[in-house]
């Protein structure tokens, strides 16, 4: 009976109620949305690499190794000798290796030298494989595979020639002009740093550096592509190696072995642990975002309180009527509490729908433009907790008008005049 009264009473104040509902819905959507971005960017971040058991690089800190090998940020202080990689690949415990060689760039995007093994063994997110939007893996010494963002931003298609630049700056004067690469494949968006990378074969990378010493081409030693194909293109060094093991149980054992090698100083890290460490640095900004949207929610609830309190002035009469009919003061207070509950509940519901609709609309552009993979569907446990918190806050702010109504109801006598 109270529900029906509360419902009708709210209906009779449609305009203000709708506005209140809208504010609560918006702030709910904002808060849940920020939480969604927090959770999923963390998830995406953690999903940068999956299925890789160890990342091996020259001796350095785990976070630094992670940054340059997977995120292509900064550069390695030193490299791994090729025969160390060979030895690692030949180790009976090792299932596969993906060598990575960094250092060159193309119009601001990093060029990564690697093997076709990358396309077969690299996994991200929930063990997803890399897939090609167009073309396929390396089929020539001078093949290049483009990340989704590179292809989209720079407008490249299969077969386009690409000249890579020496060094990682945006405008490098040292271009490997004599040996252009040709696009053999374009990857689907992944939400990982690979979207912003150009992948070439290690041998191709070696070829463009023929006749170079200490980062500059030596005069008179220019090599043509045809000559390059005749030479031994086994790389001398790689920057890092991703390692997959036959049995996970071997991970710690091999890691300790690599970290304590005497002949070459190496660092082997578990990607999950290093990602976790790095996230703690990045996560601070996201907490600030959550705080801001929390403030937005409080503003929304304050708006509801204002509407409810303003309404109280016009409800003396209604309360007196209910009193006269024998309605106990606490039930009148309950009625007011019920109204705040209905408002908050409605706001949360609409807010959630709003968020899902927004996500459905923005999912594709967000992934393509920002590499942010947001998935629709059920709320996460933390989001449920946030909903419960909003409901609780709504009820708490409903206590104030309820208390006012209770006091009014307790003090009122019969109405004589309007």
């Amino acid at each position: 009976m109270l529900i029906r009264l509360a419902w009708n009473s709210l209906l009779s104040r449609r305009a203000t109620v709708l506005l209140t509902l809208f504010t609560i819905a918006l702030s709910t959507a904002l808060l849940l949305g920020v939480q969604q971005i927090r959770e999923q960017s963390r998830q995406n971040f953690m999903a940068t690499v999956a299925g890789t058991d160890l990342i091996v690089g020259a001796r350095s800190g785990p976070v630094q190794l992670l940054l340059y090998s997977l995120f292509h940020i900064g550069s390695a202080t030193s490299n791994i000798r090729w025969n160390s990689h060979e030895a690692l690949a030949a180790d009976p415990r090792v299932d596969w290796t993906i060598p990575l060689s960094l250092g060159d760039s193309h119009r601001g995007y990093r060029v990564v030298g690697t093997h076709n093994s990358l396309f077969r063994h690299y996994r991200y997110a929930d063990q997803r494989m890399l897939t090609f939007a167009k073309g396929g893996e390396f089929n020539d010494l001078f093949s290049v595979v483009l990340g989704a963002e590179v292809a989209r931003k720079l407008g490249y298609h299969i077969g386009d020639p690409i000249v890579i630049a020496h060094g990682s700056g945006n405008t490098s004067f040292m271009q490997h002009k004599q040996m252009p690469f040709s696009v053999s494949g374009i990857l689907e968006p992944t939400g990982t740093p690979l979207d912003r990378a150009l992948l070439v074969s290690l041998e191709g990378l070696e070829a463009v550096h023929l006749g170079w010493r200490a980062g500059v081409p030596l005069p008179g030693l220019e090599v043509t592509p045809e000559q390059a194909r005749q030479r031994n293109l086994t790389p001398r060094e790689v920057t890092a190696v991703l390692v997959g093991l036959k049995s996970r149980l071997q991970t710690f054992h091999l890691q300790r072995e690599l970290n304590s090698r005497r002949d070459e100083p190496l660092t082997a890290v578990l990607p999950g642990v290093a990602l976790q460490e790095l996230w703690q640095l990045v996560g601070v900004a996201e907490n600030a975002l959550l705080a801001v949207s929390g403030a937005a929610l409080l503003i929304g609830l304050a708006g509801m309180l204002a509407v409810l309190l303003a309404g109280m002035q016009q409800r003396h009469h209604e309360i007196a009527v209910l009193r006269a009919l024998g309605c106990a003061p606490f039930r009148i207070a309950l009625l007011l509490l019920l109204e705040s509950l209905l408002l908050t509940l409605g706001g949360i519901l609409i807010g959630t729908l709003l968020l899902q609709a927004g996500l459905a609309l923005l999912q594709t552009p967000l992934l393509e433009r920002f590499g942010l993979l947001l998935s629709l569907g059920t709320l996460s446990p933390v989001q449920w907790q946030l909903c419960a918190l909003i409901l609780l806050l709504g009820l708490l702010s409903g206590l104030l008008p309820a208390l006012m109504a209770w006091r009014m109801a307790s003090a009122r006598r019969l109405i004589r005049r309007n």
Binding site: N8, S12, A324, L325, G326, C327, L414, R416
Partner: protein, 229 residues
């Protein structure tokens, strides 16, 4: 059978002031309608507040529907009011956001006794509400379509009468119910009210300063000539 209303040497005064109300003896039996007349300030409102249990703190005896009000908790007073008293005010006493039927049914939602009585009499609470509204000559087309705020004052007062009557409360208290109505509407209203009262066992206690209502009532009481207690 105990009287519907019984009061003896009832006296009420605000702390530190002269008594505003003094009554030696008054008894109302079931079906006995009483008209209380008196000028402003004669204690009419106070009497109604006392009888409805909304104003505590009096001297003397006051029994409503066989229960002594002095001994009841505020919860029990609310209960008594919901179960046994139908109230009819001057005006503006309907919930503006409900339709006619919902307004009339309201007492039955607050009291099981009146809900049962209304169901016995009309088949269901809503049917009884429709019956009463029809008896009070309201257009059935209005029952669900309109909110009461859109009705004329005369119509609103008839809806309020139906609300006071539903579920056959022991005592109906009407506080200047006709003061906002013109003479023709007023007489029409009174006639309909009495017709319906004859069908039920309810007792009507009406308070007004308007002496022209007096002829409708067999019993009358004048307030104003007070004696000290």
């Amino acid at each position: 059978m105990s009287p519907v209303l019984r009061l003896e040497s009832l006296c009420f005064a605000w702390p530190g002031s002269e008594p505003v109300l003094q009554l030696d003896r008054l008894e109302l039996k079931a079906g006995e309608h009483l008209f209380i007349q008196g000028p402003s300030g004669s204690g009419k409102t106070t009497l109604l507040n006392l009888i409805t249990g909304l104003q505590p703190g009096y001297n003397g005896t006051l029994d409503v529907a066989g229960q002594a009000l002095a001994g009841l908790s505020s919860r029990a007073l609310d209960r008594l009011r919901a179960d046994h008293i139908g109230l009819l005010f001057q005006q503006f006493n309907l919930l503006p956001y409900l339709n006619l039927i919902d307004n009339v049914c309201l007492p039955c939602k607050l009291s099981r006794e009146r809900r049962d009585a209304a169901t016995r009499s009309g088949g269901s609470v809503e049917q009884e509400a429709e019956r009463l509204l029809t008896r009070l000559q309201l257009d059935p087309a209005l029952f669900r379509q309109r909110r009461v705020a859109e009705l004329s004052i005369g119509q609103q007062q008839r809806v309020a009468a139906a609300r006071a009557l539903i579920g056959g409360p022991t005592l109906i208290i009407a506080d200047e119910p006709t003061s906002a109505l013109d003479a023709v509407t007023r007489d029409h209203f009174m006639r309909l009210l009495f017709e319906e009262l004859e069908q039920s066992d309810s007792t009507l206690l009406m308070v007004s300063h308007d002496p022209s209502l007096a002829p409708h009532f067999p019993r009358q009481l004048h307030l104003g000539d007070t004696v000290s207690c």
